[in-house]
Amino acid sequence: MTYNFESVELKTENGQIQVVLHMKVPKNAVNTEFGSEFNFDKVDHLKESAKEFVKKHYPKLKIASIAIVAGTILMTSFPMQKAEAHEANFNMSYLYFGNTSSYISQVDKTQGNLNLVSPSYFDLNTDGSLKLTSQLDSKFVTEMHNRGIKVVPFLSNHWDRTLGRAALANREVLATQIAESIVKYNLDGVQVDIENTTDVDRAAYTDLVRLLRQKLPADKEVSVAVAANPNGWTKGWHGSYDYKELAKYASYLMIMAYDESYEGSVEGPVASIGFVDRSIQYAINQGVSKDKIVLGVPFYGRYWKEGAATGGAGISNTKVDEMIAKYGGTVVFDEATKSPKATITIKSGDPTTTVGGKVLGAGTYHIWFENNDSIREKLRLVHKYEIKGTGSWSLGQENASMWQYYKTWMSHDGVEVAPVNPTLPSEQTGTVSPIETTSYTVKSGDSLWKIASTNNMSISELKTLNALTSDTIYVGQVLKVKSSASTATTSPTETSTDASASPATSTPTTQQAAKSKNPFKDISSYTSEEQQNILNLFEKNIIKGTSATTFAPSEAITRGQVVIMLGRYLEENGYATVPSDWQSNLYFKDIPVQAKNYELLKYAALVKASGVFKGKGDGTLDPSSTITREGMALVMDRATKTISGKSLVEIAQDKNATVEDLSSASTEAQDAIRAFKALGITNVDKFSPKNEVSRVHFASFLARGMQYMTPDQTN
């Protein structure tokens, strides 16, 4: 297969040249702007094509690395000379907190970085026999297989030493039960995670793994989660793992390189870089093949309260971020351990935070946790020692912004490319001020939207700040809203004319100053209004560009892209919800529930259920076809109806407008086009209904149309 690279960027990073190749997305392919899939099988061919392309076009340049981007997705990045750096592409993660639905959601946030997940399906009875947990769900297994992800449950004794010993004593029966269950439920193997047994159990432990290897089909995995052993201890828990012998039977050993500090210990990092480094060295020195070593990375931290007798309870990285946003504080990166430490003070009367079921009282907390910097440092060791890859405990505790970099970190340790989804939430570092709030008392006629927009907040922000679980509010209810000090300043934006999408009055959208820096290098030749519209939609996470640095403004927008943009807008603002059966019900014939572009799958269901998109006569969506201008007018008309209760046509019913070529439009679209003109969404005399819509013009149309897409305040 030959790949087409439609544009090339040359970048200099740390004095080395990197080539960024932008792939043309095939018309008949699911549009990758909105996808997050990563197909490892095709990567080798892709790399070879890329190398040939670069050698042909830049024969004299000394190029350090190549990055390949399709749409917004970083497909891969790798060194030009293979010998320059090690590349790892194995990542597994444990699933422990949640259920099938939340697990799927957590996996889908990883942007295709995972090859394997390990759910908590295998527990133990007191006699050491296998106990299948209530989490075991064939639907989840199928969903993961559809994504090309293996499902290897972990066998856990939950730190119960006696239970672990019961399992080892019963290992012959237990191994048979596990093998039968793996076949019965179409699982892909087992990871043995019996912890807290000791050196007296060492031989039996190895024998359990040997038995599992013997009883499981050859294509099923047996792996072992082993205690990190940076100090070479031979007794206690650490002595229960005979690394070398275990590796003879196991596909790999997953080193649990965390809990250096633990509940009850003195304050410190969960996994300092030295601790992790020495843990890998120990495995290698024991004679374990490097391609059988997987580095476990924590997605959590531990906290200690000043003045408390003890501390070190666990806290997820996401909770740390939430607390920093809520209370403010400082985050200092400790260079010695390569670990971040947050210091947060909760004052008396502050809103409470619950961690692990415990309400944190007033006081100052020291939290050692993990952020992108510390995880990146750990992943450098994967390359330093050329080991197989990473594991992580546990999925869902991480800051999701990490996944946009993960693939790059895993690809090599050299030059790195910009994140592919810069709009994902970023981390907080340095000194962070809490969101300043003030009180607002709900009045008759108020809605969440009205309160949120008045205070320059999104509805979801408002709900989160007030811990609202529904959209219902009551007159007299006191809500927290952002204080004016923390509200962005707004200023009117100049409007200007362009040939195709003519000027309109400035809208609520265009009046908001874009807070983010312009990431797109290819929009500077467009009018200030068009640029502002693009950046405002980008800021609102409605559009993401075709790469980290390009918007492709002149490209015709596809039906699939419109579905996703409108879907994001509708969902983010709470105007419509994604149907609960979006992963099981066929909303469009050509968007099967097995589709790997989950964002398209999700929003196709939303726009169909909400009546915004009806699809073609044959029941298809045809997402890769370009949308016509009349088609765009129709869906925006319906979207407005969904949000405000009135369509554009109904809003414009008393206004006159003339469109010269209206008769060339389909009968169904004529009223919507006339409304476009009457409401100033367009002011051209000829609408050209059958023409395509460029991405830049769609951004302008959408930005202008959004002034009518507000909930009806009379309801």
Partner: protein, 152 residues
């Protein structure tokens, strides 16, 4: 005859119901695990340990299930048999890291005799393994009952 057959089928039914219930997780589990040895309950509360003799220090291990409140503890056990065994307490911290151990040699007798060994934990959060192990590299048999870890 019909009554006899009915009783027979009832017995068969009850018997068939008993087997899975015995095999399920409700079955009482002996919390003593062999270390190069088998542990068998010969009468209620009395256990027989037979070591393989492949090496010295074979026997059984017991881990008290409840966390400690105090640092000072006492290992108490009643034993009978022949030859010499070792009583051993091994402390690991809350994260399983080995801390220290203490051993005591015991010469067994043919009659039951109770033995005690005191121990000071580094921390009440620690875990303890209590062992009775053979002293020499040879097959051994001994019996035990009334094992206790007492907080003082």
């Amino acid at each position: 005859m019909k009554k006899i057959m009915t009783s027979f089928f009832t017995l068969v039914f009850l018997f068939s119901m008993q087997i899975p219930s015995l095999a399920a997780e409700d079955r009482p589990t002996i919390p003593y695990y062999g270390v190069g040895a088998t542990v068998q309950e010969v009468v209620e509360g009395e256990y027989l340990v037979k070591t393989e003799g492949a090496k010295a220090e074979e026997g059984f291990v017991y881990t008290p299930p409840e966390p400690f409140k105090e640092k000072n503890i006492k290992f108490q056990i009643t034993l009978k048999g022949k030859g010499n065994v070792i009583l051993k307490l091994e402390e690991t911290n809350a994260r399983g890291q080995y801390i220290k151990e203490k051993k005591m040699d015991v010469t067994l007798t043919e009659d039951w005799a109770t033995y005690e060994m005191t121990f000071t934990l580094e921390s009440p959060t620690s875990q303890i393994d209590a062992f009775v192990l053979s002293k020499d590299k040879e097959p051994a048999e001994f019996s035990f009952k009334n094992i206790e870890i007492i907080e003082e």
